[in-house]
């Protein structure tokens, strides 16, 4: 919370500085502001949204597996995906700690997880699970958010090992989305592999 407030204050300062620079026509203030605004995020900073989204995935898979709302085959598939998400989180947690960063804390409640789903514009809620379809729909949407987070990171990371690792995991999340979608819509290959580019 404290860092959010700090970030907001810093953003406000940058905005104010840009406005001031533009009004005064003075290059110095504007250039300071643009230099700050253009500073690329560090690799450690880029790993934070990855870990945050993986924690959402872990929480969602666990809640859905415990709900016992799915068929045996869907349950088996979700359990496999869940185990792979655990492997991802382990690898990126270790990478962040090596860079001196502190991994975010796991989500602890359904309402906290639902708030994160909402923040990612996912309309479904873990608190309202009723059917297998509800469960698979949330999982597909979380996998799509994960793919997007990795894709975004790949274009900004600088460490080649992290770039390669992120590409491997992006591919895995894309596979999860495909097989979950095929469980949800068994006859619809266009939904399972909807685009030539996973972003």
């Amino acid at each position: 919370m404290h860092s959010d407030e700090h970030a907001a204050t810093r953003r406000q300062l940058i905005c104010r500085t840009i406005k001031l620079g533009a009004l005064a026509g003075a290059g110095s203030l504007a250039s300071v502001a643009s230099a700050e605004a253009a500073a690329p995020p560090s690799d450690a900073e880029l790993l934070l949204p990855i870990l945050g989204t993986e924690l959402l995935a872990i929480y969602s898979y666990r809640a859905i597996l415990h709900s016992a709302l799915m068929s045996e085959s869907a349950q088996r598939l979700a359990a496999r995906c869940f185990a792979q998400e655990h492997a991802h989180i382990g690898a990126f947690k270790a990478a962040l700690e090596q860079l001196g960063g502190t991994p975010p804390l796991p989500l602890k409640t359904v309402s906290a997880a639902d708030a994160v789903l909402a923040a990612h514009h996912i309309p479904n809620r873990l608190a309202h699970l009723r059917t297998e379809r509800d469960c698979l729909t949330i999982l597909v949407r979380v996998e799509n958010v994960l793919a997007n987070v990795y894709h975004t990171a790949i274009s900004q990371l600088t460490d080649p090992r992290l770039i390669e690792l992120s590409a491997q995991v992006l591919a895995c999340e894309a596979q999860h989305a495909t097989v979950l979608n095929l469980t949800l819509h068994p006859h619809d290959i266009d939904r399972a592999v909807p685009s030539s580019y996973v972003e």
Binding site: Q84, A167, V169
Partner: protein
């Protein structure tokens, strides 16, 4: 999930493919787009580009895309139902990848590999053999993109290659599923599963 053609048994003779020689017109059309931009950069006599490694790796990936397109082109007419729909969709996606790669190579001042008139895609017995072949080829593509991705200078190129790699990994999952194998064999997809 992708069903086999009920007539598969009667088509086994046809599926004993000893090298696909014909690519669909679509392949030629798309690759021609790529080579069009390539011929511009290829016609100059300037010294070799600084990013030769990058260009070589992308060209290797492009060759694999052409090879995959050749295989899908060969099998689409032999499939029915969901398998047909999947192969047709994946053919279109491989062609899109080839176009994108040719563009990336041209942007890096390289000359995109030209599509060959024929590809020796090996021998397959029945649908099972065809899907085994697809697994091998999609795996090879994933591995090639992973080799290339850390060598790319432009961040936008890395993002493009990653998004193609992930799509090929999806093709791999569908092929594995069709074979009755685990469609998500690796937590870290390497193209070697």
């Amino acid at each position: 999930v992708v069903s086999e053609n009920p007539d598969a048994a009667s088509r086994r003779t046809l599926l004993t493919v000893a090298g696909a020689t014909a690519l669909a017109g679509a392949v030629a059309g798309i690759s021609a787009c790529g080579s069009g931009s390539a011929s511009k950069s290829g016609s100059t006599t300037s010294p070799p580009p600084a990013n030769e490694v990058e260009i070589r790796l992308l060209n290797r990936a492009l060759d694999l895309e052409y090879r995959a397109a050749a295989l899908y082109t060969a099998i689409v007419p032999l499939l029915a139902g969901r398998a047909h729909a999947a192969a047709k969709l994946f053919l279109e996606q491989e062609l899109a990848h080839a176009t994108t790669l040719a563009g990336l190579i041209a942007n890096a001042e390289g000359k995109p590999t030209k599509q060959r008139s024929n590809y020796d895609i090996g021998r397959a017995r029945g649908l099972h053999g065809v899907f085994e072949m697809l697994v091998t080829l999609e795996n090879a593509q994933v591995a090639a993109y992973l080799d290339a991705i850390t060598q790319l200078n432009r961040s936008s190129d890395r993002a493009s290659v990653a998004s193609i790699l992930a799509n090929d990994a999806q093709h791999l999952s569908v092929a594995l599923l069709t074979l009755g194998r685990n469609p998500i064999p690796e937590a870290f997809v390497t193209g070697r599963a």
